[in-house]
Amino acid sequence: MIHRRAMLGASAALLAAPRLARAVTVGVTATELKIGNFMPYSGPASAYGVIGRGDAAFFKMMNDQGGVGGRQINYISYDDGYSPPRSVEQTRRLVEQDRVAFLYHTLGTPSNSAIVRYVNQRRVPHLFLATGADKWGNYQDTPWTIGWQPSYRTEAQIYAKHMLEQKPNAKVALLHQNDDFGKDYLIGVKDVLGSRFDSMVTVATYEVTDPTIDSQIVSLRGTGADVLVTAATPKFAAQTIRKVHDIGWQPMHFLSNVSISVAAVMRPAGAERGVGIITSAYQKDVTDPAWADDPHFREWRAFMTKYLPDGDQTDSGYVTAYNCSTTLMHVLRQCDGDFSRENIMRQVANLQNIEIPLLLPGIKVNTSPTNFHPIRQMQLQKWSGEHWERFGDVIEGANV
């Protein structure tokens, strides 16, 4: 027995030794930089898979243009089916087997929640997550994790601010999906209303397994609310828009920007039913005729035509991928050839007023060691019945 134990111990030590020796610049060789990612390519959330394809195409373009720091980018992306245990499995595969330098643009709040502690313990940079949960900006507890898009909480703060300006004595109805995503809106509205929250707001929730949300809408209307904030995924957003219209309720309606796709929400709900709905944006909308001659969009279309000839050019997922990957390229160039994990995190936390081509004019990417919310600004927009019309200035979320 002692022999076996000793043998096992020795073999463990043998296995561990080379790992330590190479730990300095994991995932980086003289010619290659390895980046890891997971996405729901299968299952109900697989519509988001286009983001992964967009990222991959973008890095291919970068490689054709000479890569970064003299190295080619090797982007490895696996399917996690939007299931947290599989996200853990794929993350360990990327970190331990493929030995990537860092994780990038991993999608989904529950999926990233499952791995956030693992990557922070291992000190693997976990960059620009494709989810809007507010907790990815927590630089104190999870210093290796950083989000990218404006958080749902910031978005809700912006709505609440606008609402107070327009209707200081509003009676608010809040409908949210009963999960991380939905609750961030609740928190954001609370941030702004403070002690007045309880007297001003009635909350209703729904589950993704609910067939309809009719009952919730009817209940909320019964409270006499004149403002409705809807934090719902596309299917339920479309149902809400239609039901609110059909029962003749005309509140000031704020809608989560998760569900503003013209093709997947507004048209199925009935374009005329949604007139007047307010939401927010931080990226240029592919379908907005205002950008038809935008030079950056022309570049983007050229990129799509060359690298993603089958890609649907009205899918905003490809715009997200393009913008986020452009942000990453800024970071990698700033690294100046030093791709150690520590330096990558240093540079990620040191982005100053970066302009990204397909973000709305005036919105800039900013990070610092105490700011892990790269994009904090948005602009409000209103549904005209045909497209979204932006109005007002770029607004920043409350500082809380």
């Binding site: 463990a12 696996y78 245990p85 499995e89 360990r92 499952a114 502690r117 991380d180």
Partner: protein, 340 residues
């Protein structure tokens, strides 16, 4: 045993009682096999591969639990993911809120699931067959919703889920954490499989199977069907709950979304593919559940689920005894050929 109309029951062709010295040999083979299964991956596999094998072992245990109640006792459950979830959450809550050491949470998780299983066993008695399948399927769909419930949020962590800390390997073993956890899970799996094998070859095991194959005859022979069925359900739930507890330790995270209806379906598919009513079947089932999705992904990225479903149906037609029945099937074919 009566002539059964159940092709899946055929798995249980009575095993010839081996002679005494045969038993010794068997024990040696099993022991040797165990040492090989334990030592080879620990010596050669990467920590990621060990993690996968650890997961496969926990799924194998869960499927063993399911197989006991469904395969051996004929009570169809499509909701065993619920017990898996209860086990996982028990461990997570005990470890994070009460600082109970990981190993001490396991018997508690098993006990809680056992009690719940016993409780569910009673209505299950009256349901039987399709209705039980249906009700447990409904349970599987409702699990995430119940886990998110506000009233228990302080304990469960609500929609956000809860992290737990993976145990450190004891100093004297000289193993790293992944190697240790693999060994730990493997030892528990081995114990449970041995226990199940013993039980199923005992008087109680025969009673369980006779109730599945011919309940009326079993009752006529004086068996207390209700007692055996409810206890089988409790045992099955306890084993699956234990697997859930182990998985929580291995994955270091529990959240409602981890226990969707897909989990229960996976356990069911694993059972069928491994071998319904087979002791070793769940081992294949566990490996299948962990490794086939990655394989399916490389074949058809868009729809690994289609492949999964097709495999399930093919197995039911072509190999109703699952992987476990494979050697026997080949043996039978060869014998036919040599005779014919």
């Amino acid at each position: 045993m009566s002539t059964s109309q159940n092709p899946l029951a055929a798995t249980l062709a009575p095993v010839a009682t081996p002679a005494r010295d045969g038993v010794m040999l068997r024990i040696l083979i099993v022991l040797g096999g165990f040492v090989a299964i334990a030592a080879v991956p620990i010596a050669f596999a990467s920590s990621y591969q060990l993690f996968q094998l650890t997961l496969a072992a926990t799924y194998a245990i869960a499927i063993l639990g399911l197989n006991i109640v469904t395969g051996f006792n004929g009570q169809i459950s499509l909701g065993h993911g619920a017990f898996y979830a209860v086990g996982a959450y028990t461990t997570a809550i005990l470890m994070t809120h009460f600082d109970v050491p990981y190993w001490a949470t396991l018997p508690i998780a098993a006990a809680i699931c056992g009690v719940i299983g016993f409780g569910i066993g009673f209505p299950a008695l009256r349901l039987g067959g399709l209705y039980l399948a249906l009700t447990t399927f409904a349970v599987a769909v409702a699990v995430p919703q119940i886990l998110k419930y506000k009233g228990v949020e302080d304990w469960t962590g609500g929609v956000q889920g809860t992290f737990l800390v993976k145990p450190d390997a004891p100093e004297f073993t000289g193993l790293d954490n992944d190697q240790y956890l693999y060994l730990f899970v493997l030892v528990i799996a081995a114990l449970l499989f041995l226990m199940a094998a013993n039980l199923l070859h005992s008087r109680i095991g025969r009673a369980m199977r006779s109730i599945r194959d011919n309940p009326i005859a079993a009752e006529a022979m004086g068996m207390d069907i209700a007692r055996i069925k409810t206890r089988t359900f409790a045992l099955s739930a306890a084993i699956t709950g234990l697997a859930g507890a182990l998985s929580a330790i291995a994955v270091e995270f529990v959240a409602p979304d981890s226990f969707s209806v897909e989990l229960s379906i996976n356990l069911f598919v694993g059972m069928v593919v491994g071998g319904v009513g087979s002791i070793v079947g769940p081992i294949f089932g566990g490996l299948f559940v962990v490794f086939v999705p990655n394989l399916a992904e490389s074949i058809a990225r868009a729809a690994p689920g289609v492949i999964y479903g097709v495999i399930l149906i093919l197995f039911l037609y072509l190999l109703p005894q699952g992987f476990a029945g494979f050697p026997r099937r080949i043996g039978a074919l060869l014998r036919q050929r040599s005779q014919g």
